[in-house]
């Protein structure tokens, strides 16, 4: 175990996997000589050379497609989007080519690729640079979507993504990059795709969440504990495929659930998760599920307005109180 930042954990995951498998390479804007726009790939050019750490022009659609092509013929690319807001320029490659290739070819070609980069409502970035793309990508059969909330998960989940034989959309959070935590230095430490994690045990209510909202939810759970409410915080970790068993286990125990996400509410992750819970465990629920989301507006530049958009500790506590009829 070592204490390291979330960004360092991502770096370690890529470094270990590149040492392990020479088919793995990293490609993206400013990943090599600049050492990463967010310093996630710091030092990797020196270690692996320009053949395997590849700076690209600002051509997201083009290099996403090049990565998919390379993956179809057996390489295992990691394609970095400087932020996932820029993945929208590459939407066609991700949803038409990466997601469908195996199906359209009747199983003849698969696409072992990881698209990774940060996202989120990160601070004064305005509407174009604050996207949360997980609901969009989770919509597509053929894609897997992962979102780590801690340095340990960042490492273990990214390693699983790189080793996977299917396309993985791996979405980090810009505001978590500097977070520190214990991380295993075991090169075989992997967090499997599709496994949720109870980040805090509780008995009165389940807070289902992911990415930065896990941190917000844990703070809310502490506050609730002071008021005598025992909240379980369940980190989904993988958005698609959903770990429905973990969610149902928790909800069957607490009989109350809220879902917290930084996404917009309509057709957001919580909408899909709530639907699954209602259809699988309606009788277990003692209250309607409540959702805490970003407000349904484009992201404003103004910091005060932006903070008001975000799921806050207060809004999480309020939603818990609603399902507890407090």
């Amino acid at each position: 175990m070592a204490v390291m930042q979330y960004r360092e954990a991502l770096n370690l995951a890529m470094t270990e996997e590149m040492e392990r498998d020479d088919r793995v390479f990293l490609m993206g804007e400013e990943v090599a000589e600049y050492n990463g726009a967010y310093k996630v790939s710091q030092g990797m050019l020196d270690r692996f050379g320009e053949k395997r750490i590849v700076d690209t022009p600002i051509s997201e659609n083009g290099f996403a497609g090049i990565g998919i092509g390379a993956a179809m013929v057996g390489l295992r690319p990691i394609v970095e989007f400087m932020t996932f807001s820029f993945s929208y320029v590459a939407f066609d490659q991700l949803v038409n080519n990466a997601a469908n290739m195996r199906y359209m070819s009747g199983g003849q070609f698969n696409v072992p690729i990881v698209f990774r980069g940060n996202s989120g409502i990160a601070g004064n970035l305005g509407a174009t640079h604050s996207h949360r793309p997980e609901a969009l990508f989770a919509h597509f059969p053929g894609l897997k979507v992962m979102m780590p909330s801690t340095p340990s998960d960042a490492k273990g989940m990214l390693k699983a993504a790189i080793r996977d034989d299917d396309p993985v959309i791996f979405i980090e959070h810009e505001n978590l990059l500097g977070d520190k935590g214990d991380v295993s230095e075991d090169p075989d430490f992997v967090v499997p795709i599709g496994k949720a994690d109870v980040k805090r045990e509780g008995s009165d209510v389940t807070i289902i969440t992911y990415s930065r909202s896990v941190i917000t939810s844990l703070k809310a759970a502490e506050k609730l504990e002071e008021e005598g409410v025992s909240a379980e915080v369940l980190d989904m970790r993988t958005i698609r495929p959903l770990d429905l068993d973990a969610i149902l286990n928790s909800v069957t125990k607490t009989h109350r659930a809220i879902i917290v996400e930084e996404n917009w509410p309509y057709c957001g992750i919580g909408a899909g998760v709530a639907d699954r819970i209602y259809r699988a465990a309606f009788d277990e629920l003692d209250a309607p599920i409540q959702r805490v989301t970003a407000k349904d507006a484009p992201l404003p530049y103004n910091r005060r307005l932006e903070l008001d958009m975000l799921p806050s500790v207060e809004r999480v506590v309020e939603a818990v109180n609603q399902v507890l009829y407090r």
Binding site: N61, G69, R102, G142, G272
Partner: protein, 336 residues
């Protein structure tokens, strides 16, 4: 009689030349019978026929190595057959059968055959052009000297994906050959109405640091020659080549296209330089074919396509649970 254009000095052996002629006949017959099956509603969806453009695919794919990569757009039947796909596998795909080349999940626009490195028909215009650069990137990464041959239509010249991929292919000197099959029509929009510059060799290669060469693609051996030069360049590490194959399609953009944007005269004029008829003249002049051998070849091709249609019609439909297979390599969990 059509006038032979090809160089007097053959670039291929007799056996190769006859095989190319035969492949073009197979493609033509496959397409014309597909049109009939479409009209009888045996084939659904969108169906884009290759009739008139056969020499582009056969001449260029014909000079590749077996381990090279071939990728194309949605007008893909001809390229698949030229790459060695059995007509029965293509026909079964068109009829949506489990025995089809993509198990009935791809359809006319999405033919694939991995064991021939036929990397697909791709139906979003321009979207496969970066994929081709990706295969070439992998070849360079591995140092395996494979070449990628990528086809698209003149409509794809106007897509951003082409610009991005061409720039990176040129920047990194990737071993890829880009062939625009300029049939003068971007669906129903004539070249002069969709391209600011009519000479596509000025748009395609030089702006990205690699050569652009135009070729009369009704002349199959000319097509073969420029492709072979480009392949040699690519294998020598000298980077991409852009080839403008000047061609013409006899059918509409797709089967649902009434072709009101062109005159009967224009079509008739194009047919005078039919690539198959031209090559027959060349091969007669060389003494490699005569009436008797051509008739025999036609009869064999007819039987091959008849058999492909019989096979496709008799082949079973996919089982309903096939809808959930071939989505991911790991066990697939439907989110329902």
């Amino acid at each position: 009689m059509a006038h032979a254009q090809t160089e007097a000095k053959p670039i291929v052996e007799r056996e190769q030349a006859l095989d190319w002629l035969r492949q073009m006949l197979v493609i033509r017959r496959f397409e014309e019978r597909s049109a009939m099956l479409y009209q009888r509603q045996k084939i659904g969806g969108f169906c884009h026929l290759y009739s008139g453009q056969e020499a582009c695919a056969v001449g260029s794919i014909g000079v590749l190595r077996d381990d090279d990569y071939v990728i194309t757009a949605y007008r893909d039947h001809g390229h698949a057959i030229a790459r060695g796909m059995e007509p029965r596998a293509g026909m079964a795909e068109m009829l949506g059968k489990a025995a089809g080349c993509s198990k009935g999940k791809g359809g006319s626009m999405h033919f694939f055959q991995a064991d021939r490195n036929f990397m697909g028909g791709h139906a979003i215009v321009g979207s496969h052009i970066p994929l081709a650069a990706g295969f070439a990137f992998a070849s360079k990464y591995r140092g395996d000297e494979k070449v990628t041959l990528c086809f698209f239509g003149d409509g794809a010249m106007d897509q951003g994906a082409l610009h991005e991929a061409f720039n990176m292919a040129g920047l990194w000197k990737l071993p890829v050959i880009y062939v625009v099959e300029n049939n003068l029509m971007s669906m129903g929009t004539h070249l002069h109405r969709h391209s600011a510059v009519l000479d596509l060799t000025r748009r395609g290669g030089p702006p990205y640091g690699f050569p652009g060469v135009a070729v009369d693609a009704n002349d199959i051996e000319a097509m073969a020659e420029v492709t072979l030069e480009a392949a040699n360049r690519a294998r020598a590490g000298e980077g991409p080549t852009f080839i403008e194959a000047k061609t013409y399609r006899y059918r509409g953009h797709s089967m649902s296209d009434p072709m009101k944007y062109r005159t009967k005269e224009e079509l008739e004029k194009a047919r005078e330089r039919d690539p198959i008829a031209l090559y027959e003249v060349v091969l007669r002049e060389r003494g490699w074919v005569d009436d008797e051998s051509l008739e025999l070849m036609q009869a064999e091709v007819k039987e091959l396509i008849d058999e492909a249609i019989r096979f496709a019609e008799e082949a079973p439909e996919p089982e309903l649970d096939e809808v959930y297979t071939d989505i991911t390599v790991s066990p697939y969990i439907p989110q329902e």
